[in-house]
């Protein structure tokens, strides 16, 4: 059936377009991905929408302005016998093309302001995780969950061994062979991911231990610098269980490109189970490595200072 064929090919194109521009169904990043991902948190839609709207506005203005230019270049060529006119002013036109951009900007500013306001509000969080950037790994310390302080759950998170071996100069190993299941995780996998629950407002307090880093998981919709001496705060609320990957986004020395971030979002019961296991592990005296890695455990005074910087 012709119409069925058309419908099928239309669906196929739509799916492809959605995959390229929307990037929802697949894990990100994916090859030939053209647009920002929609993300997986309650807030990540904000930058995605702003990106699409502002891109749309720019495309429309671009088509109009460049269109006028190309028409001018075609119509007013000397080789076509065009004679130059003498005018060099048009007050009405100048007022119009000053006013219209102002109106467009006001609309964009309004949308963006709403986005900043909701992003800045870290109140009412049900969980706190302290993130510390090191040259060149991350440290995660669980501070509290559902109003209860968590003691001694904290660990370093660094590039996984397979990526680390492959990325050495002259290793002769193939980056395409670094996989978890079907997904290529070259430089995007860690030895121990950050595990968090879904449907929970999680407050991150972020700082740096040596130089400035930046904690960025694109699926959460934001990045925030990890600065020594300063504690930044941000929040997320992940909608769906899954594995979300990101990277350090502030130049921090030779291995800046090799300190990825992996966030594993689990359902609330699964997370509670995981947390209990971790607490049991750190409580057990045999868990010496875990105890060593909590040497730089959070100082409650620092986390208490966090809301001040968030305002």
């Amino acid at each position: 059936m012709t119409s069925g064929g058309i419908r099928r090919s239309f669906t196929a194109w739509a799916a492809l377009a959605l995959a390229l521009f929307g990037g929802v169904a697949q894990a990100d990043p994916n090859p030939y991905q053209l647009n920002m991902q929609r993300g997986a948190s309650t807030w990540s839609q904000v930058p995605y929408d702003l990106n699409n709207i502002s891109l749309g506005v720019c495309v429309v203005i671009g088509v109009l302005v460049f269109g006028a230019m190309f028409i001018a270049m075609f119509r007013f060529r000397k080789s076509r016998g065009a004679v130059a006119e003498k005018w060099s002013h048009n007050t009405m036109l100048e007022i119009v093309w000053t006013t219209i951009p102002v109106i467009i900007l006001i609309v964009l500013a309004y949308l963006a302001t709403g986005g900043i306001t909701s992003w800045s509000d870290t109140t009412g969080s049900q969980m706190t995780v302290k993130v510390t950037g090191y040259q060149w790994k991350w440290r995660y310390d669980y501070v509290d969950y559902l109003g209860k302080p968590i003691s001694k759950v904290g660990f370093m998170s660094k590039l996984d061994t397979q990526s680390d071996q492959t990325r050495q100069l002259g290793s002769g190993m193939d980056p395409y062979a670094v996989k978890v299941g079907d997904e290529n995780t070259y430089l995007l996998n860690v030895d121990k991911p950050l595990v968090v629950p879904v449907d929970t407002k999680i407050r991150f307090v972020i700082t740096g231990a040596d130089v400035i880093h930046s904690w960025w998981v694109p699926a959460l919709g934001w990045k925030l610098d990890a600065i020594p001496g300063i504690i930044n705060a941000a929040w997320t609320n992940i909608r769906e269980p899954g594995t979300y990957r990101g990277q350090c986004a502030e130049l921090c020395g030779q291995d800046h490109g090799f300190m990825p971030i992996v966030v594993v979002a689990k359902s609330k019961p699964d997370f509670a189970k995981w947390l209990a296991e971790q607490e049991a592990q750190s409580a057990a005296p045999a868990a010496a490595p875990a105890a060593a890695s909590t040497a730089a455990a959070p100082v409650s005074a620092q986390t208490a200072a966090a809301p001040a910087t968030a305002k």
Partner: protein, 538 residues
């Protein structure tokens, strides 16, 4: 020189000194110093470009193939420092040196000896900076922004700081000279609002330079004392604040990016009317737009810092201020298009580069507007989207304007026409490959590739390879430019007329081609019809 006492000075008017050392090293002539600046900028353009080629070679495919990450970081840092302070800025100063006296009818720059000094500082500054690449600890690797605490880990910090001091001194002297020339040396009748837009753009740029170069010097000096003299300006362990450096740096840094684009606006405003054979649309609006962009540049610096965790009020203020810049910039683009509308256009190489400038710079402006939106910037920040953005405004913006200006005024400088065929070859190759180079970087950034990384996940492989291929070919295309220049200066048989271009207006076209060593010994008489922008009274 010793015999050149006051009476013998008149001999100079017959031409340039024959002795090579006297002519070039001891020159006080604005044209010769302008040439020195331009040749220096070209050299630095190729050095900085070779760093870019190495960067793109390493990024050609995933996995490290060529270099250690630390050397990669040195390359990205040096590429930026060389291109910004060595290529783009000196090229504009060179164009200003050559053309401003000719455009305002002055016999030379106001302070010719300082002019010589401000140029000859530069080769020493860059020797100092580039020499660090051959030292044991390597060159600076903390990015051209030199954020502490990372930059304090570098062994070559002192070299870079002193090199930046020298460049700053050079820029300030150049700026003082340009202001003094424009304000004091204009021919009678060349009122401020009759000056070519290029002169206006440089006047405003020079004020920006004087305002912000000392700020940069202060910031890097604080880095120096933090590292070597036990101060703690930026060290939280001693009560300092790393973010303070970013505020100071970007208070310099944002006006700096306009220092690199305002003279380009001026150049394009000269070239488009010439080849459209129609006066510039809205002359006063153009001047006012440049001035308002310059003013706004002082109150938008923190848009480079949206991800450092600023207070919400600050993010909102800097977002609004940044978005405002779109208005005067838009006015400029609309005015250029209106200048073309109703004209009688021809498309010689300078015009082709100017048209490419308007389109591609505007694309860079669009991504700039997107970056201004704070929530979206939380995603774009420090990704390849930003890399694409600033290369669109600096390569297809500032650099294309410099190339356009070179083709436009080259016949006036050397007295011969360049090869139009090879000029167009250079144009088409540049404009195609620069887009293959930089456009896919938007996609990489949106997909989540951070900037300043030597290696990446395989999902980014396709566009990186395309970008690298574009990069190599764009780099190779610039060798055509070198060939065109060498041919025009030494081998071209085609004499340039005084007017050079049919539609050219302005005082610089009233002197012979090549411009004699000394021009406007007697102030010219200004005819309003001769001015590039036509009548401004109506």
């Amino acid at each position: 020189m010793s015999h050149a006492a006051t009476h013998d000075q008149h001999d100079d008017h017959h031409g340039a000194p024959k002795n090579f050392f006297q002519r070039w090293c001891m020159s006080t002539n604005h044209k010769d110093i302008g040439t020195l600046y331009l040749v220096f900028a070209l050299l630095m353009f190729f050095i900085g470009g070779s760093f870019a080629m190495l960067i793109r070679a390493e990024l050609f495919k995933p996995g490290l193939q060529l270099m250690q990450p630390y050397f990669f970081n040195q390359l990205t840092t040096m590429h930026a420092l060389v291109m910004i302070f060595g290529a783009i800025m000196p090229a504009f100063v060179g164009l200003g040196n050559w053309m401003i006296p000719l455009m305002v009818g002055a016999p030379d720059m106001a302070l010719p000896r300082m002019n010589n000094l401000s140029f000859w500082i530069l080769p020493f500054a860059f020797t100092l900076m580039l020499s660090t690449l051959f030292m044991a600890g390597g060159g600076p690797a903390g990015g051209w922004t030199m954020y502490p605490p990372l930059s304090l880990q570098s062994d070559s910090l002192a070299y870079v700081v002193f090199a930046v001091h020298l460049m700053g001194i050079s820029s300030i002297m150049g700026a003082i000279n340009i202001i003094a020339t424009i304000l004091n040396m204009r021919a009678p009748g060349m009122e401020l609002l009759k000056m070519p837009v290029f002169v206006w753009s440089w006047l405003i740029t020079a004020f920006l330079l004087i305002a912000v170069m000392p700020v940069l010097a202060g910031a890097v000096t604080m880095l120096l004392t933090d590292k070597y003299f036990g101060t703690n300006f930026f060290n939280p362990g001693g009560g300092g604040d790393p973010v303070l450096y970013q505020h100071i740096f970007w208070f310099f840094g944002h006006p700096e990016v306009y220092i690199m684009i305002l003279p380009a606006f001026g150049i394009i405003s000269e070239i488009i009317p010439t080849f459209a054979r129609k006066p510039i649309f809205g002359y006063k609006a153009m001047v006012f737009a440049i001035a308002s962009i310059a003013f706004l540049s002082f109150i938008v610096w923190a848009h480079h810092m949206f991800a450092v965790g600023l207070p919400m009020g600050a993010e909102i203020f800097f977002m609004y201020a940044t978005m405002l810049i779109a208005v005067p910039t838009g006015v400029k683009v609309f005015n250029w298009v209106s200048t073309m509308w109703g004209g009688s256009m021809t498309f010689e190489t300078p015009m082709l580069f100017a048209i490419a400038f308007v389109i591609l710079f505007t694309i860079g402006g669009f991504s700039g507007l997107m970056l201004a939106l704070v929530p979206a910037d939380f995603q774009y920040h420090d990704t390849y989207f930003v890399v694409a953005h600033f290369h669109y405004v600096l390569v297809t913006g500032a650099l294309f304007a410099i190339i356009a200006a070179t083709y436009y005024w080259l016949p006036k400088w050397c007295g011969h026409m360049y090869s139009e065929f090879w000029g167009k070859m250079h144009f088409w190759n540049s404009v195609i490959w620069v887009n293959v180079l930089f456009f896919p970087q938007h996609f990489l950034g949106l997909a989540g590739m951070p900037r300043r990384i030597p290696d990446y996940n395989v999902a980014f492989a396709n566009f990186n390879m395309i970008s690298s291929i574009g990069g190599f070919l764009f780099g190779a295309s610039q060798l055509i430019f070198l060939g065109v220049l060498i041919h025009a200066v030494w081998f071209s048989k085609k004499k340039a007329t005084d007017r050079v271009w049919e539609g050219a207006k302005g005082l610089e076209w009233t002197v012979p081609s090549p411009a004699p060593h000394h021009t406007f010994d007697v102030p010219p008489v200004i005819h309003d019809d001769e001015l590039a922008h036509g009548h401004v009274n109506d």
